[in-house]
Symmetry: D2
Subunit: 360 residues, 4 copies
């Protein structure tokens, strides 16, 4: 049930954090596609630990090997398998504490589901490391979407209580926000980034972690993509976005704020612009009846604080079933949000490509 997703283009993810490596198969790609591997590498670097001052210093190489589906530099159309071999892992760290359930992690739920046979080292198959495979597959999806001029804008919208400007408040047709892509700490308001970073450093010094929100806009998706029951854009996007470890909420357009609004405030009135139907506002996030309006798709993704924290926590020894304490050592990201941007984009790109490919 879990490892394969997609109706038209199918993705199959596999691998573990401290096993041989992580990989993904992408099936039903158009033959002849010339992949820009440097762009994929760029996205993998955006995701990679160690690329910001606060991130974990584990040096993951993230070098992928193409095991199938590419010939003479082009996609053949047969299943493409990419594999990222694990190189830098110290499994012994995990042996000592393997029976102590780390709060916030999947140690307990994985133990139950897999009856104790899961690879517990560094989260195993649950590890955030598998998002490298998502970013790889999403990188391919983004290149296919780019042929339709569909592109992604994402930024750190919130960390703790500190908020960036919102894409909702800006005229997205007047900026291209391409600088966000190359920033180490991508915020729209250049002044807010350092404030957020200080907050993260502050939290980190206390051995604690902090949550945040990624905001994303998808530009140039044509009107008419998606479906009512059961493949609405919201359904398919949320399905994939909630596959990302640590995500606990998603909202489209004005989302939860719509609960407070009146119909007169929330409805996006229509007008004609150069023979095209547009809406004056975009409270619906570019989606009506599960189908794209042609306006930007906007959504916000809430991430919980990193579960690995350096303070002692109450827990249970799953072997002895006795109460115990755990102290998690080693450096961990105090905030996952900066690295999560390319992952959210990847999940969204995979979702959209599937919807686009299954349109009449």
């Amino acid at each position: 049930m879990s490892g394969t997703w997609g109706n038209t283009i199918k993705y199959t993810i596999f691998g573990e954090s401290h096993g041989e490596g992580v990989g993904i198969i992408v099936d039903h790609l158009p033959p002849g596609l010339e992949l820009d591997f440097s762009a994929i590498t760029k996205d993998l670097q955006r995701r990679r630990p160690g690329n910001t001052i606060t991130a974990t210093t584990r040096n993951e190489e993230d070098e992928f090997e193409i095991l199938s589906g590419v010939f003479n530099g082009k996609v053949t159309g047969a299943p493409l398998c990419a594999f990222i071999r694990n190189t830098n892992h110290q499994s012994k760290d995990y042996e000592k504490t393997k029976d102590l359930l780390r709060p916030g992690h999947a140690d307990f739920t994985g133990f139950i589901k897999y009856k104790g046979f899961h690879d517990y080292r560094g989260g195993g198959h649950f590890s955030g490391r598998l998002t490298a495979a998502l970013v790889f597959a999403g990188g391919i999806a983004k290149q296919l979407l780019a042929k339709h001029h569909i592109r992604f804008i994402s930024h750190i919208y919130q960390i703790g209580t500190i908020c960036d400007l919102s894409l909702r408040e800006l005229d997205l047709s007047k900026h291209d926000f391409s600088d966000l892509y190359s920033k180490d700490f991508p915020t729209i308001d250049a002044a807010i980034g350092p404030v957020m970073q200080n907050k993260v450093l502050d939290v980190q010094e206390k051995g604690d972690s902090i949550g945040g929100i990624v905001e994303t806009a998808i530009m140039n998706l044509p009107a008419g993509i998606g479906s009512p029951f059961f493949d609405s854009i919201e359904s398919v996007l949320s399905h994939l976005v909630f596959s990302i470890p640590g995500v606990k909420g998603i909202e489209f357009g004005d989302g939860f704020d719509l609960a407070k609004m009146r119909g007169t405030e929330a409805n996006d009135e229509f007008y004609v612009n150069n023979g095209e139907v547009r809406t004056f506002t975009n409270h619906c996030g570019g989606i009506l009846g599960g189908i794209s309006t042609g306006m930007p798709i906007t959504f916000r993704t809430a991430f919980k604080p990193t579960s690995s924290i350096a303070v002692p926590q109450k827990t249970v020894n799953i072997n002895t079933l006795e109460n115990d304490f755990i102290e998690i050592v080693g450096r961990h990201d105090p905030c996952i949000v900066p690295r999560a941007l390319p992952v959210v984009e990847a999940a969204a790109a995979m979702a959209l490509l599937d919807l686009l490919s299954s349109t009449y």
Copy 2:
């Protein structure tokens, strides 16, 4: 892509608001199951327009006919088809304004997706009327889940800016909340219901509408249900919940509030209780790594204000592609939230049953 959903038990929805009727096929039910049709009827009544003072007075009968899959009062195991024939509809109302796109509705996106061939009467296949079919199928799913003692608590958490108590703040093991099920306007705090209802009446008098939030807890789901990548509980639940017209946001556990929290606040520490692993708190909403912890699954679903409002709105005539105005006549629910509770439960039950059935 859109009409069929499910891995183990498959649901296929069909029908239109002003056509012959709406229906749903539920396939792969366990043979011999004795359905409690009165419980399903009860849920259909909870969803039905006209059951609260503020709801639309269109009298939908919602009487379902079983076209297949039941024999001698029991489920056979072959596909079960339920059909609710439309009886009370005035299609002519819609002919006059069929070219005027109703803001907030799927008139425009449906027109584009279906190239102008969709049934535009009353929303057609996009209509909220199809949620009666969801409630039917969800009713079956709830009865199957009840055999595992899994049950649903849902209430109106918010309308406009008025909030009920939250299930997050209550000890769910100490109340059963069964009274919510029979209330016309289900809030936990009895005093807040009338305040909300007055707000809805006030909005209605102005020809306007208002949004809100449904809060749900799923009790007694055993630990170990769900998957990492790509069938997390959050993925599958959100997929189905976003199939409900009008839903624009979902959050699990503390959801968007987690963005503001520290790891020390957000992590749910473990302890042993009578040989079972429990968490002191439930900020994660009963889900870690996409898999159930055994604690209640809690989530909040944001609904936008009803799109049909009585005030004139700017729009476009899709036939002439000229700017125009629309005034929507007829009575419509000023707030969809009270009727949405059984629909959210139905979607969640369908999702959970699929996850439960596909566990080892």
Copy 3:
């Protein structure tokens, strides 16, 4: 698992022989399609009992009602549900013998699978009557394929040991065989039809039944349709053809004869004809590596003799688990093959349309 099939266009079958009726949902049809219902009715008549001298005289009306998905005479793109209500059935016939397993039927296997809760009347969900739903859906598929000039030739190739000419021996580009479509007993060699019919009558007089083979050619399927692993044309076609009750074998091109052949005999050599690659012969049945060559797709489908025969048979009373005898009364088709042609075409059309729709 059983009732829904298809990747792009999804079919969901439901219903029982002696329940309310039988139906099928066809989802993801192109909006605006104008269906030729008279052509579908024609196919239903070809399948209908009573249209040949030897067939059962049960008068099934086979009048379908469109419950959804068609508006103003055109397909909307939302799920299309067609329902054929049962009118002429005498359930009491089946009550008396319900515990006696009819040899060759699914009485025993259905009892085990559905734990005794299946609708046993006239085969219930296993009944050949459900092929009316297949013919309906296949009729739609054929109309969509016809837009690509894809058409079907099928005839009674064999009954007992009596064989018609084979499509393998004829130059399919020189005949259109359209007369087969309107024949009551479609054979290519006009002289062989009466011989076969006499054989069937002879068998019928003895209260016995007889098997046969349907041969089919699919014309004008373009080259490049299908896939290696796991969606070869043979895989997908056989999957659907084996869904037809009574089918026990399928072979493509020279099929089982290829076992006796040499590579020099079996290989179809290539040549260029007007800039197109063709093969001199077509031993492979128009399929290499699971993918169409552009030559006719040819296959043969073996049907077992009708299981309902008028002679006493040894059996078991499933209720008492004692040995017993059964005598099946009532008129039954002594040979299913003449009625099976539109069903085989329907299954093949559904399969091909799905493959065609999922091509890049």
Copy 4:
């Protein structure tokens, strides 16, 4: 559409004959399963070229690497990826003749489907080499089925016009046929093997090839597995068996012979044996209404002659679109059938396991 198959347990195949290697992902295996890798290696050896006197001498190592899903020697439940790296391939052989379509191969159809971008070396993704991945996955499936005592008997039933004894004529309950598994050239009648081998050698000397038939029985499948419409045992088994390169026909039980039979001959009468319902005969191959009867599942699979033959053949240069000739050099199996037995078993095991897992 092509690379992933399965409802409960999902298989995703990838790789090319002369690329990095071939592999398969098996998802949703039961955690804790201890795999007998030596049994899988045994099956890979049965399939391997060079294990019979007549087979190609290309020495494929077939050593698999487990990239994920196994930890401490046991299946974790997360996706299991096995990879067999290519070691012994001479790609240059294929460069010279890459534009000359080999008759009987997928060169032409692959070229069209993949628009000329497929890996043409040695058949690429179409190569019989990918059946090593099937054998690996099928080997796992067989071990899981063995826990239910389900086992496979397969033998070379026919090569050219030379036939072995048929499993249909033998009392399968009285022999276990386990010796077939270790024979290099598995026939039931020990005398017929050498005759067949001489025939193959004779054909080989002429630079030609020859077809044949594999016969298989699946023992101890319990009654009640499978479904009517659309997942009959025949549907699902044939779907996977036709994924094997070179297969052109399949028949269950008496298959095509049923066309010649009467109902009185074909029906399998029931009797009670120690409180269990059995049939005296098994003309239906252990399947009624798509569902297992509890008797052995028997089927025959027809393979065409190996397409690679040493005699000159007419063909087309796909680059210049001119008529040409091709002479295929190198050693090739003159008959694929002896190596095909474990592949047929693997495909059948994968199919059955899926059906078994999706039963109520």
